[in-house]
């Protein structure tokens, strides 16, 4: 072991999963084909809001290769339920949110472009596509509402008749009286209206689902592009298809990115599973990208007003926030939680603002459902706060670094209770800020601004000091807040007879590199080389249970479950070792894969103990069961609180208004880092999505509800030549309440970066008197500003 390279916690081990991916031997759902497999094509609404007058399926059914055509009526006849929502929110007045039915296939009305109306199942995908064109669907348009502001206008058309005003809920959090009092005595108040632009997650692998049914056993199998197969089994089995867990297996094999969009239970999963049972044949559906744009859950889409009360020194006295959040046409699985408990609770940020009050109205519109997308609520909170802080500086003349430092939660104030429910366990915002400014050469910026101006470019620098809550979450807490599930995680650690290890985790890896990170964790604790450790995920038939991967929870919650299971393995191993070496259990130490008797040179390897456990000839069989296989459920004690500082530097071409990020520094506190290479990659990827939101991406509907950004030709995905190199530093304080000290790194990049970029754009435009600019800062917006007020740069 001594000659082996270090591959435990802290090593940048190259990823175990890469070999299959770089060789083209991954197994994504669409790569899997079954004998006799049929192909499903979904016919979707091309109208934003319409009554379904009639559906004539005769011609489609008669088309070559077609096996079946189903509509909502067929599903209703079979008693198939609607898609459930996993989180209930109560309004200010105590009433439950409006939770309209979400049929798997539309019945009565279609409510957004992309709403599924019928499914055609044929022997080939082409045949199914051809036949779908023969469906005669008579839709009668009714007025639609496409935006939040249209939906709340007096007399607006209703998306759901039983949701007056298109309001899903009207929620609040915080101490309104304390905030009002602080505003009354404030020396200065600053107000800012801002929107958080709607985004489309666009994981590169389109969603796919393959349903199978075995009539001899009654067993169903769904293979699907999911971040959380057990949750899909629970939701689809219990609420939609009414199948018991032991007859429904859900497999999520290699999944090509998720970013939140593959958390949710989607209609197509239920359709292929149910129709596989009806037809007795495997049925596969694979999304086209165009379909994905109108059927994958979208993200963000807030309209807010934020106000800060300050004293004359720039101390924050109180924050008041009003937000309208777009839910889309139906409630996606976790949608109601995003603008409430993942947003309102984050509005303290890294600041000691003593009083905060937030009101959030969730609004139905005739658009694709909106749910969690990388960061989920927390990017919206960070954008609002960090734009507000820079706007305060704009209005009052305070320095943007100084005012942040002045209002930071002091490093010795942890644990820190915020006025919006959360209690932060650890953090050091001063250090992440200082390091980020150093890395970015903040002090030398003015020289770079001048150099850029000489080339006809406007250069700006922006900072954001953000915080997020991850590792969701203590089951009792989230249950009290409306979650309809527990949010613990599960690990099963199986030491095989010859000492190799399989670890079964309820989290799911779809790019995060769990097969490597978790193997490092196990190697560190059990002293087994990572080549002898396999991490198994994504199959309800193999893994006891699990809540999946989202909210940067896999290491903090899933890794902690592994630690707990390994503790049990070691505890049992000590008993076996004590028996073999004729010592007291209390005298057995375990280190580097060896059980030794304290103060002697007597030792047994984990492999020897494992063999004894499975071949228990000399074994304390009366007191101890054979085997070395332990399972743990870990329920977190709190959220974790990663945070840090991002610094963006942009250049704007004065002639065109095109903004480029030319330098980006992220210094994040993600707690314990297991694999620095993987953490750096996670942050870079998140930052790329954040720069995408700030400069490029925008999901656009026209006023009638037709989606205009419906393909990669129209929706600006960031490309290699739109992005800079991204410098990543980590500066860790440890999480105090989980055994690893881990906080989570998956979302920090996407949370901290958008305000840093927009603050930099506004800094670049400061000669033009720009106070605020909503995302994306497109060339058109910037060019309009430059041309409305021409041209100080030329005068220099």
């Amino acid at each position: 072991m001594n000659d082996a390279p270090f591959e435990g916690i802290g090593a940048s081990v190259r990823r175990k999963e890469d070999l299959r991916f770089i060789s083209g031997r991954g197994h994504y759902t669409d790569d899997i084909n079954r004998a006799g497999q049929l192909h499903a094509v979904i016919k979707r609404s091309d109208r934003p809001h319409a009554r379904i007058v009639s559906i004539d399926t005769a011609a489609a059914k008669a088309a070559p290769g077609v096996v079946a055509v189903y509509t909502g009526a067929d599903l209703e006849r079979d008693g198939i339920g609607g898609l459930p929502c996993g989180w209930g929110i109560h309004s200010k007045d105590g009433s439950p949110m409006k939770e309209p039915p979400h049929p798997v296939l539309a019945t009565g009305k279609v409510r957004h472009v992309g709403d599924p109306i019928a499914v055609v199942i044929a022997e080939t995908k082409q045949q199914a596509k051809d036949a779908a064109e023969l469906l005669d669907i008579n839709l009668e348009d009714v007025p639609a509402v496409a935006t939040i502001n249209d939906a709340i206008a007096p007399g607006a058309a209703l998306v759901h008749d039983d949701a007056p005003g298109n309001i899903c809920y009207d929620w609040h959090l915080g101490d309104k009286a304390a905030v009002d009092a602080a505003f009354a005595r404030a020396d200065k108040t600053v107000s800012l209206d801002l929107t958080n632009n709607r985004l489309i997650p666009n994981a590169m692998e389109p969603r796919c689902a393959l349903g199978e049914y075995d009539p001899t056993t009654g067993d169903y199998t769904l293979t699907t592009t999911s971040q959380n197969p057990h949750v899909i089994r629970l939701l689809m089995g219990a609420f939609v298809l009414h199948l018991p867990e032991h007859k429904l297996r859900v497999v999520a094999p290699d999944v090509g990115g998720g970013f939140g969009s593959k958390i949710y239970h989607y209609a197509e999963e239920a359709i292929v599973t149910w129709s596989a049972g009806k037809l007795g044949m495997p049925v596969k559906w694979t999304s086209d990208r165009s379909e994905a744009f109108m059927s994958d859950a979208h993200g963000r889409d807030h309209v807010s007003t934020a106000e800060m009360a300050l004293d004359k020194d720039g101390n924050f006295l109180a924050l008041r926030v009003k937000t309208l959040s777009n839910m889309g046409a139906y409630l996606s699985t976790f949608a109601p939680a995003v603008p409430t408990y993942l947003y309102g609770t984050l509005l303290a940020g890294v600041y000691k603002t003593p009083a905060i009050y937030v009101e959030v109205k969730a609004i139905f519109t005739n658009t694709v459902p909106v749910d969690a997308y990388r960061g989920a609520g927390r990017p919206e909170a960070a954008f609002l706060l960090e734009r507000l802080v820079d706007t305060i500086c704009h209005d009052t003349g305070h320095d943007r670094v100084e005012i942040r430092r002045r209002n930071f939660i002091p490093t010795d104030a942890f644990p820190y209770q915020t006025p919006v429910a959360l209690q932060y366990d650890s953090g050091d915002y001063f250090t992440t800020l200082r390091k980020a400014l150093e890395h970015a050469d903040y002090a030398g910026f003015e020289a770079r601004r001048k150099a850029a101006a000489a080339k006809g470019k406007l250069r700006g620098i922006g900072i954001s000091t953000y915080l997020e809550a991850c590792g969701i979450a203590p089951s009792k807490v989230v249950g009290s807040l409306g979650a309809r599930a527990g949010l613990y995680e599960v690990a099963n650690v199986r030491v095989h007879p010859t000492g190799s290890v399989s670890v079964f985790t309820g989290t799911h890896s779809h790019g995060q590199g769990h097969e490597t990170t978790f193997a490092q964790l196990v190697s560190d604790q059990l002293g087994v080389p990572i080549s002898q450790i396999d991490i198994v995920h994504g199959d309800t038939a193999k893994i006891p249970f699990g809540m999946g991967t989202y909210g940067s929870r896999s290491l903090a919650v899933g890794g902690s479950a592994m630690v707990k299971a390994m503790d049990k393995v070691i505890a049992k191993g000590k008993k076996i070792a004590a028996h073999l070496m004729e010592a007291a259990v209390e005298d057995i130490d375990f280190k580097d894969g060896k059980f030794s008797v304290a103060g002697t040179d007597k030792a047994k390897t984990l492999g020897e103990i494992a063999l004894t456990a499975y071949v228990p000839h000399n074994y304390p069989i009366e007191e101890l069961e054979p085997g070395l296989d332990e399972t743990a459920f870990y329920d977190p004690k709190n959220f974790t609180y990663p945070g840090g500082c991002h610094v963006a530097e942009v250049e704007i071409e004065a002639d065109t208004g095109v903004a480029y990020v030319v330098n980006f520094v992220a210094v994040d506190d993600v707690g314990r880092v297991v694999n620095p290479m993987i953490v750096e990659g996670q942050v870079q990827g998140g930052v790329a999505q954040g720069i995408g939101q700030a400069l490029y991406e925008n999901a656009v509907y026209d006023k009638n509800g037709q989606i205009l950004s419906g393909s990669f030709m129209d929706y600006t995905m960031p490309r290699a030549d739109n992005l800079p190199n991204i410098t990543v530093g980590t500066e860790s304080t440890l999480c105090t309440h989980n055994p690893l000290g881990a906080k989570g790194c998956g979302e920090v990049g996407a949370i901290g970066s958008p305000p840093a970029v927009i603050n930099a754009v506004i800094d670049a435009l400061k000669e033009y008197g720009v106070r605020h600019l909503d995302m994306p800062a497109s060339p058109q917006k910037i060019w309009s500003i430059l041309n409305a007020n021409r041209p100080p740069i030329a005068a220099e």
Partner: protein, 166 residues
């Protein structure tokens, strides 16, 4: 049904296809070469890039019949028979240039053609420009650019794999 004859990863084959069958559909559905992926339907994402007669091509933008008589190489055909990886594959792994792996086959095929067609050197700007037709949602491209830059000297015989990996 018309027939297409072509050589894929060194093996000659002939397959009956519909006139409208795309090259990517031939590879994935008729030949079981599922390493080549489909990430969009507008020829934007580049997940389906393969080599046709040594040049990178989006296999979603070409009919299978247009590949008649061609030599096609897919991601599965890059490694040597003994399993030795192509230097570009090695550098993608070494520099953590992939996360979910879905765009990776297309990225690797594009990158190899890019390096081959720039024997005199390849700047970061050229690499970033050359990747315009390949979308990645995970990495932010940072490590992909590094991997391609690291593969260039190896592929042009200017550096050994081991030193390049340092």
């Amino acid at each position: 049904m018309p027939q297409v004859k072509l050589t894929v990863n060194g093996r000659s084959t002939s397959v009956d296809v519909e006139g409208r069958t795309l090259l990517v559909e031939l590879l994935r559905e008729k030949m079981g070469l599922t390493g080549t992926h489909v990430g969009c339907d507008t020829s934007q994402c580049g997940a389906c890039v393969v080599h046709v007669d040594g040049v990178s091509v989006k296999s979603c933008s070409m009919l299978a019949l247009q590949a008649d008589g061609a030599k096609v190489t897919t991601i599965e055909g890059l490694a040597k028979a003994d399993g030795t990886l192509h230097p570009m594959q090695e550098m993608f792994r070494e520099h953590h240039a992939l996360q979910c792996g879905f765009c990776t086959p297309g990225m690797v095929m594009t990158a190899i053609d890019m390096v081959n067609s720039h024997p005199d050197g390849l700047t970061e700007e050229q690499i970033r420009h050359g990747l315009e037709g390949n979308l990645c949602r995970c990495t932010g491209y940072h490590n992909i650019v590094k991997a391609i830059a690291a593969a260039w000297p190896i592929m042009h015989g200017k550096r050994q794999m081991a030193t390049a990996a340092e």
